[in-house]
Structures are given as structure tokens and as C-alpha cells.
Amino acid sequence: MSDQQPVLELVDLSVAYQTSSGLVNAVNDVNLTIFREEIVGLVGESGSGKSTMAYAIMRLLKGDAFITKGTIRVMGQDVYAMSVKELRQFRWDQMAMVFQSAMSALNPVMTVETQILDTILAHRKEWSRDKALARACELLDLVRIDRKALKSYPHELSGGMRQRVVIAIAITLNPGFVIMDEPTTALDVVVQRSILDQIREIQRQEKFAVLFISHDFSLVAEMASKVAIMYAGRLVEMTDSTTLSLGQTHHPYTEGLLRAIPHLTADKIIIEGIPGTPPNLVNLPTGCAFHPRCPKVIPICKTERPLTSTYENGMVECHLFSRDKEAQPIGN
């Protein structure tokens, strides 16, 4: 990889919700490492636990959600070992997040300027207002919005501009790691394209690592160097995006996603070749959670959960791989 210093390390991370029907696991035993300046994609259907994971990393889980197991380290620091005060300084300084919906991530009654300055002055108390304002202008230049937008209220901006403002706020303090949670979902295709190009450009320029979350497989494959696939709260496969193609052997779910690319829609993925719906996390199928929809299901899938097989370029969690281990390129 590009650099051996990890910006994000997830070790056996599990997140659960307390509900009236008991604990429900939304994220299960996730192991994931992201190195400096790397873009890693995270793909999964709605409800697969992607956003929960993102909120867990940011330590923004609320109410009934909490971490049951594992550690989260960002820039080598355990996010959950910090005091609230330390966290407030660390977050956004080192790690930031672009929220799913730019429409609702901006305060409707405050100008863009105030919202950017709030971010700067919360972390750089010694900065003068002018200096902060200069930084705000610089940021708008970076995301290519007219500086006049500083005086605007969010409702006066288009969807694309709002999303750019949110991105600008995320990179205000030059964080080393940015989570982008479906950053372009609500936008039309043309705007989506230009924002994605810009994200890549800014990412190269500012050199931060990205966890790019999306349900849009084609988009992730294009943006990211590594792709992690999530199903029912588990990472079922992790692979280089270069080796990602129907020609290679993958987890049956990944293959389904690959086949489904042309049919992806914003609100629900219609997966050709994968019948059925995503499972309800309250009562997951036994064994491998994917088995009721898997075209290659074998008897053991219904009873036992597959183990993780790691190999050179990634990992996969499927009985097919443990069975024909000899047929696979195995790492260690």
C-alpha cells in the first residue's frame, strides 16, 4: 500500500441497538484498515449497517446504539478512550465526515459563512476572524463556489452547491481522514459526476484518506482503490478494485452486485440474479446471513457461519472459499 501508517483501524468492531426485542447487532466483527491517502469504498444495501459503522467511527452514535465489542483507532488513537473534551478537539481536526444528506446537514437559519466560521473558531480559538474568513474563502475556491455564497442561507443554494459547502466544512481543518456517507445520493447524475471528480481532485491535493460509503457499486468501484462489501452488518468481502470483475471469483453477493450494476437505482437496489430482500437484522437467517438468497448455497451455509479467508489482496467470508481453499490464492 501507499504508506504503512494506518489512519483508521477497526478491530472486531460490533455495534448493537437496544430495542424492545433485545439487542440487535447492526455491525458485526468488522476488521478494516485504511492507510494514508487511500480511498476505500464501502458498499451495501440500505440497512446493511454502513451508516451505523460511520457514526460509530465518529463516536456519534446516539440513544440506543452502542459498541459491544472491538476498538476503533483513528491516527493511532483510540476514539473511545478520549475524554469528551479531547474528542471535541480531535474530531474534525483529524477525522471529519460528509453527511448523507447535504439538504439537512446545514442549519437553515444560519449563513454559510457562520457555519464555516463556527467550525474554524471551535478548533482554532487563537485565530482572528479575518484569518478564519480568509480560510473560508479559500475553501469555497477549493470546492469551486463563488465567494458570494458565504452570505447565503442554505435554502438559497442548489443541491449541488449545498453538498459542496458540506464538503468544504468537512475539510476545513485539513483532516487526515474523511468519511463520505453517500455524498452524492440526493443529486442528479450530472451534478453527481462533477462533485465526484472534484472530491478526487481535492483528495489528491489535500492528501486525506477517505472511507467512501455508497450503495452504488459502480461509483465505488470507480472512486476507490479498495472495496469492502457489507451484508447484514458483516464485511463479506474486501478486494482491490482493480481485481473486481466478473471474470474473477468473488463472494456470490459481490457477483450479484456486479451483475446488477446497470439496474441500480437510488432508493432500492434491484439485484438481478439475487432474488429476495435484505434480511431483517432482528432475526437474521442462521449460518451465513446471505444463504436464503444465494444462488450457490450448499448445506453447510444454513447451519454454520463461514470463517474469514484472507488472501493477498483482501478477504472473503464464504463457505465456498473455505471448501476449495486449494483453488484460491491464499495469503497467510
Partner: protein, 321 residues
């Protein structure tokens, strides 16, 4: 939206699903502890009202008893300064107050529904006029307007008062119904119904009405409470036929019969308590309905059906998991 078969099929399915929401809401209502308590209290009052002729020990108008008695076994709430049995008046007053409350609620909700839904569904100039009209009624000081009307219509019976209350108090409902109707007007199943030739009235009552049952129920409850209070207020001020029997007239007579100066708290406390109890029962039921209409208020441990739901509830947003 096109006239080919597909959206129609979709819309029919959606319409069905939306309708079943009504039954689901009813179910959810009776799942709610507060709503059940409210419903039970209200039912007790309804029973008292219905069986007033059985429960009242004496004729409420009869002046055959010694005046200004305190509570006793013969007269549970004592007697008035003119020798009437207060408990009998109270029982009959229950009937009157409930009839006025429920009647006014039904009439005002109906007016509000017609004005609001017609405007919201039709849009355009009709909507502008109806909306301005309801906004004017909304901001007019209600009780002052009632008093003004009462000054011309003298010695009204409680029923007439209820009617006047309904005629002046429909605006809030109209506003709520209008906004729901506006959002429904462009829905597939409404469009489909229109394309298939259904008239406006039919669409309003057969298509739109079943989709706003919880708003209608909420409005009925709210108006009922408002009407009972308004009627009691009017009667207390003496703007109701003073020979009638309602909780408000008891308060009027208590005020004028010197209950306060004689320390006869048993005369004026029970009617107010009864209004408060009915009001609380209505508010409790409304609470149950609110929880159905506005799931965001449902904090924690209520009926959570899955993780997505939980996430939505605790974060209040619509992010996915």
C-alpha cells in the same frame, strides 16, 4: 403519470395499503396505555350521560329541598340556595356537556373537512379564497366572537350554543386537513381516481378521507375539548338559558348564589373537576393519536419493529443503518 395500466395498479395497491393504515392506527391506539386510560375515563362519563335519568336521584329543577345544605347522604353535593339538588344537576349536566362537546366536534370537523379538503384538493382560486377565509376565522378571538353573537341571540339552549361554537371553531381543522389534502392531491391513487372519472365529492370522501383518519380523530378530540370548555365558559358568564342543565350553568348559579362567600366549595368544585377529567381523558386519547401521527415523539422503548426503526427513532432523522 400516465393512463396506462401500470400506475393504476400501483396506485390501487398503495391506496389499499394507506387504508389499512386506518385499522393499524386503531390497533396502535389501543396499544397505548395513556390512550386506554383516556378512553376508559371518557366512557365512564358517556355512560353517566346516557343513563342520567337512572342515576340522578331527583328532578334537577325541583326546588323542594331545604336551601344551602352541605353534602349529606340525601344530597351528595348538597343543595343550592334555592333548594335544588346539586348532584342531580351535575348528572344531567354531564349529559348536556357531552352532547354539546361531541356534537360541536362533529359539526366543526365536518365543516373544517369540507373547507380544508376542498381547497387543498382543488387548489387555485377556490383554495386561495377558502384559505384566507379560514385564516381569518383562525385569528379571530373565539370567545369574544361567541359573546358578540350571544348578545344578539338571547337565552340560547346548550344545543344552539354548541352549534354556534362549531360554526366559529372549524378553522384549525380546516388548516390541518388542507395541508394533508394538498400532499395527497398529487398521489397516484388520487390521480388514478380522477382519471377514472370520479367526482370531486367522491374523491374527497372515498379517497382522501380514509387517508386522514388520524388527523380527523385528533381534530374531533381537540374540538370536543374546546367546545366543552367554550360552552362552560359561556354558561358561566350567563349567556345560556339559565334554566338549562349544564356544568357551566351550575358554575353560573354557584357564582350568583354566593357559593364562594358561603364556603360551599361542593357547589362549584365538582363541575370544574368533571370538565378537567373529561379534558384529561380527551388529552390522553389525543396523546395516543399523536404517537401514531408523529412517530418522532415516540421516544425509546415504544413499539420498535426493527433496527431501521430504532435508528430513525433515536436519531430522529431518516438516515439508513
Amino acid at each position: 403519470m400516465s393512463t396506462d395500466g401500470k400506475p393504476v395498479v400501483n396506485s390501487v395497491r398503495r391506496a389499499r395499503r394507506r387504508r389499512s393504515h386506518g385499522n393499524g392506527a386503531l390497533h396502535a391506539f389501543f396499544q397505548n396505555g395513556k390512550a386506554i386510560v383516556g378512553f376508559s375515563i371518557f366512557s365512564v362519563f358517556v355512560l353517566v350521560g346516557v343513563f342520567a335519568w337512572l342515576l340522578a336521584p331527583y328532578d334537577p329543577a325541583s326546588t323542594n329541598f331545604p336551601p344551602s345544605l352541605g353534602p349529606s347522604w340525601a344530597h351528595w353535593l348538597g343543595t343550592t340556595n334555592t333548594g335544588q339538588d346539586i348532584f342531580s344537576q351535575f348528572i344531567w349536566g354531564t349529559q348536556t356537556s357531552l352532547i354539546v362537546g361531541v356534537g360541536a366536534a362533529v359539526v366543526s370537523t365536518l365543516i373544517g373537512f369540507i373547507v380544508g379538503v376542498y381547497g387543498g384538493y382543488k387548489g387555485g382560486i377556490a383554495d386561495s379564497i377558502l384559505n384566507a377565509f379560514s385564516n381569518i376565522f383562525l385569528v379571530m378571538p373565539g370567545l369574544a366572537l361567541l359573546i358578540l353573537i350571544e348578545s344578539y341571540v338571547k337565552n340560547t339552549t346548550p344545543i344552539v350554543n354548541g352549534l354556534i361554537i362549531a360554526l366559529t371553531g372549524w378553522a384549525w381543522g380546516a388548516r390541518v386537513f388542507r395541508s394533508v389534502a394538498m400532499s395527497l392531491a398529487s398521489r397516484d391513487f388520487i390521480v388514478a381516481a380522477r382519471l377514472s372519472g370520479a367526482g370531486t365529492l367522491r374523491i374527497m370522501f372515498a379517497e382522501i378521507l380514509p387517508n386522514m383518519t388520524s388527523q380527523i380523530a385528533g381534530n374531533l378530540i381537540y374540538s370536543c375539548l374546546g367546545a366543552i370548555m367554550a360552552e362552560a365558559g359561556l354558561a358561566y358568564l350567563g349567556f345560556e338559558n339559565i334554566a338549562s342543565n349544564s356544568w357551566g350553568t351550575i358554575l353560573f348559579w354557584a357564582q350568583n348564589g354566593g357559593a364562594m362567600l358561603n364556603g360551599a366549595w361542593w357547589w362549584f368544585v365538582p363541575p370544574g373537576m368533571a370538565i378537567a377529567l373529561v379534558g384529561t381523558s380527551l388529552a390522553l386519547m389525543n396523546f395516543g393519536i399523536d404517537q401514531i401521527t408523529n412517530p418522532r415523539l415516540r421516544v425509546q422503548k415504544s413499539q420498535v419493529r426493527g433496527v431501521r426503526k430504532t435508528d430513525t427513532v433515536q436519531a430522529g432523522g431518516t438516515r439508513d443503518v
